[in-house]
């Protein structure tokens, strides 16, 4: 029974982490989309450094969160 209780506590922790991770990932998707739209609306390059660094867009500079 004790082991069961331990296991359900662990499960609660894991579920909590899963929720935190989901929240974080969905916030990242929404904020990245928002910033992208705002840059486009203002006529700004998606990568602020593309011009000054002359980087061809090879996806190299994508931030992996």
């Amino acid at each position: 029974e004790d082991a069961d209780r331990g296991a359900s506590a662990d499960l609660a922790v894991v579920e909590h982490r899963r929720r935190l991770l989901q929240e974080w990932l969905s916030w990242r998707v929404s904020i990245e989309e928002e910033v992208k739209e705002e840059r486009e609306a203002r006529g700004l390059p998606l990568d602020p450094l593309a011009e000054i660094l002359n980087i061809a867009d090879e996806g190299e500079d994508q931030v992996i969160e």
Binding site: V14, R17, R18, L20, L21, Q22, W24, L25, W27, I31, E32, E34, V35, E38, R39, R42, L44, P48, L49, I52, L53, V63, I64, E65
Partner: protein, 340 residues
């Protein structure tokens, strides 16, 4: 994880910054010169002499052409990284505690100290990213901090906002074009000084370190506190690691400020927390005094810390660091892969 020890400063470190590629480290200390180092072997690339007072801050532009510095001699200076030449001096009424370039290096902000007769300010300067160019004397904008002086400040994504951390534990959001104060939120305990503010790579969120023994992850768009990291010692610095979802905190109390004789007196360790789960996952010892500054390498492969003891310690992360993953993270990644 055997660190490289950089010995080039005789006084307490004040700030460390990596360049964008993560191959050069710039450090400032109270001993009046800036050092540049190769990140991979700790070899000294150069020193920059000219300031007449303790150096508080340094930043490097995104093209790694010039660095900016601020000091107790009431000046901001620009330097040519390659030649070591001082390119420009701006004079202010009080000490300069923080400088930061915006995302494309076209602007520099400087946080000036409050002193009798002078309010603390955030000044914006226009920069030409060319070591040969004539730099403008003009202050593009000056924000005065009437309520509580700013101790740290930086530029958000798109250089849309200037975000400041204050002496009273609050953070402010200003319109970076007009200087208009848009918002102020008491994110830390009242009257607990915010000691550091560092950005995520895309500058949509940032981390603050505070004397209230916590660090906070904050949304730059609306100043919402996303995460809180609770430590057991006053914090001087906090940095967000790329590649892995961690944050690094540095702090500790100077021996003279420690009233109790705790076993881990002062606690001079860099602390790693999981950025999303807010849990502490590890500590790295080494310094003989408080950690005044920590910086994660933008390439994700290491970090550096600077201490009250005058040393810079450069760490390369080992395999265990990259392997460390929570079960839920592993599952989420698998799901993503199957979805693709």
């Amino acid at each position: 994880m055997r660190p490289i020890l950089l010995q080039g400063h005789e006084r307490a470190l004040t700030q460390i910054r990596y360049n964008r590629d993560g191959d050069i480290i710039f450090s400032t200390a109270k001993d009046q010169h800036i050092c540049a180092w190769f990140a991979h072997n700790g070899e000294r690339l150069g020193t920059y002499h000219g300031h007449q007072g303790a150096l508080w801050t340094v930043d490097v532009d995104p093209t790694s052409t010039i660095i900016a510095s601020g000091a107790a001699d009431n000046t901001v200076r620009l330097w040519d990284i390659k030649s070591g030449k001082c390119l420009k001096v701006w004079n202010f009424d009080t000490a300069v505690k923080r400088v930061e370039f915006n995302e494309d290096g076209s602007r520099l902000l400087a946080v000036t100290e409050k002193r009798m007769g002078f309010l603390g300010t955030i000044v914006v300067l226009a920069i030409t990213l060319d070591a040969e160019a004539e730099q403008s004397d003009e202050r593009v904008m000056t924000i005065s901090c009437e309520e509580s002086k700013a101790t740290v400040a930086g530029w958000s994504y798109m250089s849309k906002y200037i975000i400041a951390g204050h002496e009273d534990g609050s953070v402010s959001q200003y319109d970076a074009k007009t200087g208009e104060a848009l918002d102020n939120v008491q994110v830390h305990e009242l009257d607990m000084l915010i000691t550091d503010l560092q950005w995520s790579q895309d500058r949509t969120y940032f981390i603050t370190a505070c004397k209230d023994k916590t660090a906070k992850l904050i949304n730059a768009r609306n100043l919402e506190v996303l995460k809180t990291y609770v430590a057991d010692t006053p914090l001087n610095s906090a940095s967000i690691t790329p590649k892995k979802d961690f944050v690094i905190l540095g702090g500790g109390q100077a021996a003279m400020d420690v009233t109790t004789t705790a076993a881990r007196q002062g606690k001079f360790e860099a602390r790693f927390y999981h950025k999303i789960f807010e849990e502490e996952i590890g500590r790295v010892r080494g310094h003989f005094g408080p950690l005044n500054t920590v910086a994660a390498n933008p390439n994700g492969k290491g970090y550096a810390s600077g201490g009250e003891d005058g040393y810079v310690r450069v760490h390369q992360f080992d395999k265990a660091y990259f392997d460390f993953t929570y079960e839920v993270e592993r599952q989420a990644r698998q799901q993503q892969q199957t979805a693709i």
